[in-house]
Symmetry: C2
Subunit: 234 residues, 2 copies
DNA sequence: CGGTACGTTGAGTCATATCAACCATAGTGG
DNA sequence: CCACTATGGTTGATATGACTCAACGTACCG
């Protein structure tokens, strides 16, 4: 299902290297990663790791989109975030040395680089700037998680769905036709909002009726972003 | 309302120093904190910092209990966690250099030590072990937040209330009479569960009727912990 | 003594989940 | 090529969990 090769992608010339997290790495540290990483291909639907797995490293997303979710009591997925080019996943479990508490599944065919746990721990310990950037990342995620808790606890399903459409617009943008550049099933939308699939369908068609969006299968076009923000109380 | 004094509490002899986060600090680093920290007293109801505040440092809880919440659209509080002896608060905003995204309010009279932002950033940069421990802490919080999201999104109010009673038991324990050692109003319980005050009242009395708990004002005694865990699907 | 904050209970309403039926599409195998 | 199956999407009917509103009780406090 996936082939691995160290030299398919070279960290030295990888654009992700210029992002805040990796910007402060020394030439030596980049080489260390480049030599020890494993690059893998994953197709849509592949599970990269699951709740309960012991992680031997973390992944850097070179391409594609993955969804990260927790499985609830009755097996229902709760999507907590997505990761795309430049994001890293699975680092939480490496740092806290606990089993993974989320499952990661490919939404759009991916190229991932697997980097051994020891390297991450070494970087945190030896490169203060890297440690600080990684902490910033975690703190940002934590802030978003807290905001999400408040939203789910206090907003209605309609408000939350409107908000999530706006967030998807922020995070993934639109193509030349104004179509959101992430393709989700109704069920996946429901698993983000924390509601039933049928409710999402009904609300999407309500939004369509109000001229807020245009829907064509999984293609969603946002017509009235301010209107959505208004509904979402943003 | 609060007096400050650097020498009321000396970090050198503070028991919190033995906890994972501060254990790896050098003598010199401890002195640095001890000389630059400010110890303050806060009474129940005091607000320590609010959403939107720029933080000039973080706090170490020496004594007492504080609640940390976000304010929703309609002003309703969503409690995201508590902090008590040995916990640190406000560090998230210092690290990410963003305004605070939560408000912190005293539940039980507190002694807090305020430590300047520069010291925290210096420690993260220069002491790898400290950076790692702080990251572990953040990752743990993040894991809990994700679990909370899933719970709120998927469980009923009854299940969530039962779960929160179990968590309060875990985190704060009980006194000699089996009473939970944290005193919360019905409204505060509702603000944790994400529901209306009336719903909490009705469910508490239902739990009492089923012999799961004993209630006397704000004093809650857990009689059947397994029963609560069963209800909570834990 | 009145005021304020908290707690309790009942009744009515509404948002949302659940259940069920049905359609569209695409891939599969005989 | 045609049933066959699986998956996802849609719609309607129904049930119900939980919120809201309102009234009232209780306790504490200056």
């Amino acid at each position: 299902m996936n082939a691995s090769s160290s030299d398919l992608i070279n960290c030295d010339s990888c654009t992700i290297r210029t992002q805040p997290l990796f910007r402060h790495l020394t030439e030596e540290e980049i080489q260390d990663i480049s030599l020890n990483k494993i690059t893998e291909f994953f197709k849509r639907g592949s599970v990269i790791y699951q709740e309960g797995n012991r992680m031997k490293g973390f992944y850097c997303v070179n391409n594609g989109i993955v969804k990260i979710y927790k499985t609830g009591f009755d097996g229902k997925q709760q999507i907590v975030r997505f990761a795309r080019k430049g994001d890293i996943i699975g680092y939480r479990s490496v740092i806290s040395n606990e089993p993974a508490c989320t499952t990661t599944e490919v939404l759009e065919d991916c190229i991932l680089c697997h980097i051994p746990a020891e390297i991450l721990l070494r970087l945190v310990k030896n490169n203060g700037s890297f440690a600080l950037e990684l902490m910033k990342l975690t703190c940002k995620e934590l802030g978003e998680a807290n905001a999400y808790i408040t939203d789910i606890a206090q907003k209605t399903v309609k408000e939350r769905l409107a908000e999530i459409l706006v967030h998807l617009d922020d995070d993934f943008g639109t193509d030349a036709n104004g179509i959101l550049m992430i393709s989700l099933t109704r069920e996946e939308l429901a698993n983000m909002v924390g509601t039933a699939t049928e409710s999402v369908i009904r609300l999407l068609s309500e939004f369509r009726g109000s001229g807020l969006i245009e829907v064509n299968g999984r293609k969603i076009k946002i017509l009235d972003r301010p209107g959505l923000k208004y509904i979402a109380n943003m």
